[in-house]
Symmetry: C2
Amino acid sequence: MAKAITTREENYSQWYNDIVKKAGLADHSAVRGCMVIKPLGFAIWENMKAQLDAMFKDTGHVNAYFPLFIPKSFLSKEADHVEGFAKECAVVTHHRLMNNPDGSGVVVDPSAKLEEELIVRPTSETIIWNTYKDWIQSYRDLPLLINQWANVVRWEMRTRPFLRTAEFLWQEGHTAHATREEAIEEAKLIHEVYARFAEDYMAMPVIKGAKSANERFAGAEETYTIEALMQDGKALQAGTSHFLGQNFAKAFDVKFLNENNQEEHVWATSWGVSTRLVGGLVMSHSDDDGLVIPPRLAPTQVVIVPIPKPLPEIMEKAEAIAAALKAKGVRVKIDKDAKKRPGFKFAQYELEGVPVRLGLGKRDLANGTIEVARRDTKEKVSIDIAGVDRYVEQLLHDIQSGLLQKAKDYRTEHTTEADNMDDFRGTLDEKGGFISAHWDGTAESELKIKEMTKATIRCIPNDFKEEKGSCILSGKPSKGRVLFAKAY
Amino acid sequence: MAKAITTREENYSQWYNDIVKKAGLADHSAVRGCMVIKPLGFAIWENMKAQLDAMFKDTGHVNAYFPLFIPKSFLSKEADHVEGFAKECAVVTHHRLMNNPDGSGVVVDPSAKLEEELIVRPTSETIIWNTYKDWIQSYRDLPLLINQWANVVRWEMRTRPFLRTAEFLWQEGHTAHATREEAIEEAKLIHEVYARFAEDYMAMPVIKGAKSANERFAGAEETYTIEALMQDGKALQAGTSHFLGQNFAKAFDVKFLNENNQEEHVWATSWGVSTRLVGGLVMSHSDDDGLVIPPRLAPTQVVIVPIPKPLPEIMEKAEAIAAALKAKGVRVKIDKDAKKRPGFKFAQYELEGVPVRLGLGKRDLANGTIEVARRDTKEKVSIDIAGVDRYVEQLLHDIQSGLLQKAKDYRTEHTTEADNMDDFRGTLDEKGGFISAHWDGTAESELKIKEMTKATIRCIPNDFKEEKGSCILSGKPSKGRVLFAKAY
């Protein structure tokens, strides 16, 4: 096994790429900017998806599926949206190939040009609101609470596996409401669901807040975001929920008759998280030896390794332990490979981030003990076999909460107040992280700070406190601190 | 509620479209040939997907995800494959839009032309085998048992919701093996999984068999198929599993070192089922009043309707019954809508195919009884509330097996032997269905019969019996009967 992961200290970016590649999360593909999600990476995404899907359904949402393609003209219908999305995208212009007359493979058939080009969806507001027009007539048809799991394409120039890829997988919720208040409530509800998912399942603490006007989704009146901090002190926007006002309803002429029989435009939200979360998971917890996966999302939570190999008497006990763990709902696997040595296996499971490893040898059997190794702290203890299922069940909880606490502590250490540009820059250079600073509320200052430091306003936090101060750039009055950081 | 479903007798094709539209399974979209899968249709697909996914995992497969796009040149690498798939497909030629200089929306940016066009995958053998080249070096890397859930696009000229759409959802398994025998065994295993799923979950009996050379997947050495019979006597190809030989390994140069340290090309299979199954489900069981969904795949298995409306004392009992059913794993819903009348609700649930409806009124409460109505036979009985959970649990089993039996009986009645072209044509015209007939084994006769009658060889059935006879067309010797039908 060629391990050799670059350390975080040496080169954080290369460390990330090494983990993704060597732990088998994803691979590059023959198509520029598109990755192959390998079985381990996809299994983590499947676990995320299952949990999020359950949370959406618990809050009254249903799934549906809309077309991959969007007629080009649709993108122009909402003025801000077209600026944001009708740029770098995949454009389908033809619907047929033909044999090259010179015999060298296939070429585009020029006679099969589409009357109107189709765009591979970068996001689906336009095609969905064009459909909602047919589905909504009366207040009785509202609210419409629909989510879609889909692939989308944005022709990114610089890509990184999971964090930014041309094609990515995501869910996009698109809801329709009778009132402004209800739509805002929906956008906030999902914001809350995302935050809960990030903390309770990914063990990734997030700051909840609203985007500045400049960083809003193209077509939104308000964008709520969850922002996480990675181990290199850079922020990751992990999920956004948008209040869209009546913008798309007006663009696609979606009206309803209210209870007083008056015609009104419908109010909208949209919200999404993507395979980017897998990147966030990796960067939140992993170390120089490989992946660290929080137990609640780990495809395999516990692996049992027979030492030195799967001898019948060891396997018998291993099967019994596995059965006891399965009965407690633990995802457990026994390594039955007789060819590889335990040391090799240990390194492999460490690399792949399996939260708990149980080592069971002949001497253990004789003593009635078993070795329990946890991936996060690398601690090993020998315990009585008798209570191993209860011990491991508790340990998985401990690891889950330990990872969250560790990430919270890191964030606390890396959140700094700055009261002038010198301090701001100094903090950015020395330790990075979130910087809480006064801002005058103008896009001008925001963009200037970005230009000077590469740091952006991550959010105006939900727990924003009224506090008089002066903008670190302009010195103009500010009503309170907002959160800056360099970001992925 | 505008019901008015065309009857099957009047116009089967229109009946199907009416069911799909009025029961809320799917809707047309603004993109030619692409449908919108509505929440009810998608929920059925989700149930199918969950079950199939579990069956794939139980047989050792894992999921992964490969790019949406395929470089054009890849399609030319396998000679048969290019003939089959590099025809009607969506071709991406540009990666950017720009504002139209005349101010009228956006146009394709001519400077953003791709060096090599990308094809939206019609199926993924080529991109996947191009990736497997990097993943397979030694026999230790085999077998590779990977499945993908994805959307694919084939630019169909004539489309019908679920049955044939330009974009559709499916799973595609792509496995790699060290030996021919193992690959054939894999293709047959999945063939068996598909048949089991169709019968046990969809209550849709299928004939298992192999395709004639002419009907094989482009690039396959053998295609195994499951063929179902719809209520209009036409066959539906419901799933196929292909033994691909070494064709793709050779096209993409995928070799491995065997245990004797010799280099060999890898053996392959691929297999898929799609949202077409939803169309098959509808056409297998539904009637002139709407959808009939087999309980095992029904998003809602039981609905409780309070009569005449959700009064507190009725709701209390309804909640208790729902809890008891949920405890048995039944997907149950209580209709709490106070505005709609019971009669309206009954018709709606009939249209949507909910297998069991429980009507609970004041008089029922007084008598300690409840009305149970089954969707399939429309029978209603009044039973003691006390045992309703056990009764309904059994009833769901009975409905599931009853639907399968009914479909089997229909198929038996509509499977006919024909020994000459007159009988063959007569049967096709009078009652349709499967026709078991002798064929001389040549593509020539097969195509001629298709040209004359529109019937195709659906399969050479697994239970093919050696039986001397004469081809119904050519009169030449035949070794046994194969199954013909007109097909979707």
